[in-house]
Subunit: 329 residues, 4 copies
């Protein structure tokens, strides 16, 4: 396979994005959403204000990794990333301005200084270094519910130009490629890129976008996922089960995809691998290999390839490449 | 729902069928089959003769629960049942003769006196009381492979007249109904019937038959099934994965269906419930309820509804009832 | 090993004890006990009266398998067994009277006719055929808590004469031996005996008695047991964890022993094997083999060998045999 | 608690230690060791030379994470760490020389330039940036054996001066503290320090040292650990099981400790938490809290506190602090 689309990693940036940190969802009914995220998935409610619920995973000591904000329509306000030190936010601002990208400083409840920016394709991204510290519930097993969600693991976005989005995240933000699929022409079809040392903090897939495909929570074992399936199936959420359970070829992780009451897609995810070595060779997959999607061979439903959440204030467009239809995956 | 098809259990028979015991498969390539059943599923090889392999589960102390017999075509020679005491075989013979059914005494390697008979619909059945005792491998964890199969659990057969076959097994052989689906007219669409005290030793489904739908092995946990999926997916058996993993509504068991090299369907099964109470009320399901098939809502593939193994010497026929097409399940 | 203590099974009794059914505990604080059994273990509360709580496992359709009765002192009022048909209770009464054992008819909430009797060593036993039917919660996963207890599995009792108690249960009640330990003189040291088709409905161990050693609940997998350990360790019950987790050599089951607020010992148990064959050869263990207790070699604490619950109205006595001290196990 | 022993993290070093990488064990019988590490634990043999076996975990793409080297006596030749880039090795050499520590360049099979050094307390440490790349076996499930070991996770060492060793690793090598126990005087009793983003790459405990307490392999779930216990218990290794299974309060990980044929201690480890945030607050534990060792309360055996492997060429000494005896833990 000709790897013409691959570019070198960039280890010389004046800031250090640690990891994906949180997602800010617009939801139409806070109580319905709370029933899904807290009573069913098992996330911990840190705080509820008049129009917003702040949630975190069982191990997390940050004020929030999931924000549910009352909204007239389902949407994603932003995806959030944590940088190592506050001063890096200024370096990041300068860097993004230098690229001609829009940035602004915003106030976010529970967070310190927060830089809002957009990727060239329009993905709204927040960056911060400081967030309110709250107690970990990891050793409070009496608080464990649902699938025992430990932490936010990653985001996955549709983009109309996966090659360009991949290049932006790798070259300009320092993400590192772990797995990928190229088209026959050697362009990036889908990319898994990381900062925190496992398979991904962000995945990018060619498609009508930018749109959010899903966010993922990490759970301890596959049996937690099976229990969630049993639970959702018998508490009114059977229609919200979209795909899985299964093993991804890409990432080798065990997965389940469910939809929240507004249709936002959540992956329940466990068991990938360590990627902290900078010389780790990215693994390329053949677009024609169905096992990259599901090691066990079962196809994903059409909705999984086509549906996604809109980003606030972002127009979507058709993919720019002459590509095979994504459903062919 | 009108339960017109249900009949009373029969507790007054002069014999005591303990459980389903073994299945005698005709396979076209012994080595290929051995690689599937022993090296992949993890069954224990008790003995191999010139044309036959005798297998058992890890906990089993019987000489065989799976027989693989070299055959020009894939087929099922018989399904086997164990009765409590040898003298009961004579009572059973008299009972079946009294019903006008064909019976004969046959010699089976490793088994004591064996009575061969056919159900009114033509399912070939063997009955015996004595079988060679071999060591259990249950505590020999060095011999554990594949999905850690502990024992044969049950059979499932297509029958062209589920109502009649159900009545035969319940009234004449003493099986007890645990779960069932009736048609809108109150006829038996599918029945789960047992002797050993869990959900079934035999299941019956309306369809072109009689044919063997599947046999099932019991494994300790769902994680053994997930490992089998991973193993089959990366050792050349990905196409042999047919359905699952999932949770059945019926039985509440966790399942996977795979196909052996000849297409015989094997269910990997765990975690149903205790049914030894004779006054346990059978659970009826609505034919329109998709969760009876898969609690989580995922449909089974067409092959699962249509394909089965032929019984040796048995003609198949179309279902006699004016029924909804089985694919509608 | 000389098996002089073994006696034949008895298949010719005029009644059919199906299984162990329930235990009737005297507890000193109903609310504390409820917090342990319902909120922590996860049993379902069927009914609460002024002085009694009736509990059942998730799959059980019987009104109760655990009874918690307000009592000045911790005790066990009786262990309960279900017989197949009501008329068998009369046959059982006649049989026990013929042995010179005390019997009486008692009224028990939720149960039909109930025969109360005592074993020759003084274990109070209830027998009934009919019990109020309540819905199974097996498919109501929203009700799953704690270790997901599915059903009562067995009892274990200290007896001052294990040989005699074993002979009573086998010869007079039709229990069947599955595993056992003999002393060097060939007397029964400990016996596992069953009716329902797995390793035991009752186990007997030589010791000061008769006393209840423990009752056991069946859970789906070892991970449910691990979660219970985490839960108890962080909700005020760490001192109630007595032994385990581990694998028994005897039964091959995965186990944990915990103590309720009154000290009653509960085993959390999963994964033994099928024993419905009447010709299944019982497995004998060497009293000097520590792996019969814990396959992995870890010793049990002294309390596990010495402490038990008193039966209501029963005097205890020292073991009659000149035996090795039980702590030597 | 007075945290006088805690020092700030150091984010300004001219090199970047990525993670613990490998351990080089001296073993007295290569075949016996191979049976333990490969046939029992399930590590993959990358290469075997006349006197050395090189092993790796299932997901690892490095030539080795475990080295077994024929030796007259059991010992540890070195613990290995990987740095991000080759040029950093020179910066590291200069830094260590500046501290007056012994360093030398050594040749190691399969590795690029390798710097050998010793900590002030005498722990032999290897550093390298480049190692031969071999295929990951992560998706080759046919190669999975034993406990399905995925990767090396961490080391744990006794040191006669935990405070000093902790300060060296944090101040001079850039490790970050995640959990710790202080003495009543505020000195470091035990420290868990990390580079790769989970709880530790290295743990330090006060005791006769320096000695290696254990190395740990990461496995997917607790059920893999339970299977290893079953396997070791029935294949001649029951005496090699030392402690567990259990949950550590510290790290919240599920663990088992076993001993290899030479007595080297291996931890089988799963399920801790993410620590990439530089502002993550280290968690302090009270030396009197037994749940820090085992959340479930079970004590560790004396051997676990007292025994360890000697480092090649390193004298051991008694702890310098007037400390409570370690067995009191």
């Amino acid at each position: 396979m000709k790897h013409s689309g691959l570019i070198p990693h960039n280890f010389d940036l004046p800031f250090n994005i640690l990891r994906c940190s949180h997602v800010d969802y617009g939801v139409t009914d806070l109580d319905k959403s709370r029933h899904f995220y807290v009573d069913t998935l098992g996330l911990i409610e840190t705080e509820r204000t008049a129009d917003t619920i702040y949630l975190r995973g069982l191990e997390e000591q940050n004020h929030h990794s999931y924000i549910l904000r009352k909204s007239a329509d389902p949407k994603v306000f932003a995806v959030g990333f944590k940088v190592a030190f506050d001063k890096e936010l200024d370096a990041l601002e300068a860097h993004l301005k230098g690229l001609g990208l829009p940035t602004s400083w915003v106030t976010r409840h529970g967070q310190g200084r927060t830089l809002l920016a957009r990727s060239p394709q329009g993905i709204p991204m927040e960056f911060y270094a400081q967030i309110d510290r709250v107690p970990t519930m990891m050793r409070e097993y009496g608080a464990y519910r649902g699938c025992h969600p430990q932490r936010l693991d990653h985001f996955n976005c549709f983009t109309p130009n996966a090659q360009a989005t991949y290049e932006f995240f790798v070259r300009e933000l320092g993400f590192r490629l772990t797995e990928y699929t190229l088209t026959e022409k050697g362009e990036m079809w889908a990319a898994w890129i990381q900062r925190k040392g496992n398979v991904h903090d962000m995945a990018l897939t060619n498609g009508i976008g930018p749109r959010m495909h899903h966010s993922a929570v990490w759970v301890p074992t596959a049996l937690n996922i099976i229990h969630l399936l049993d639970l959702m199936s018998t508490t009114g959420y059977v229609e919200n089960i979209e795909r899985g359970p299964g093993r991804h070829g890409i990432s080798n992780a065990f997965f389940l995809y469910v939809r929240d009451p507004d249709g936002h897609r959540i992956e329940i995810y466990t068991c990938d691998y360590l990627t902290v070595d900078p010389d780790l060779e990215p693994k390329g997959w053949d677009l024609r290999d169905p096992q990259r999607q599901t090691l066990w061979g079962a196809p994903a439903p059409r909705s999984w390839f086509e549906e996604g959440s809109l980003f606030e204030g972002t127009e979507v467009s058709e993919p720019v490449m002459e590509s095979r239809p994504i459903i062919a995956e």
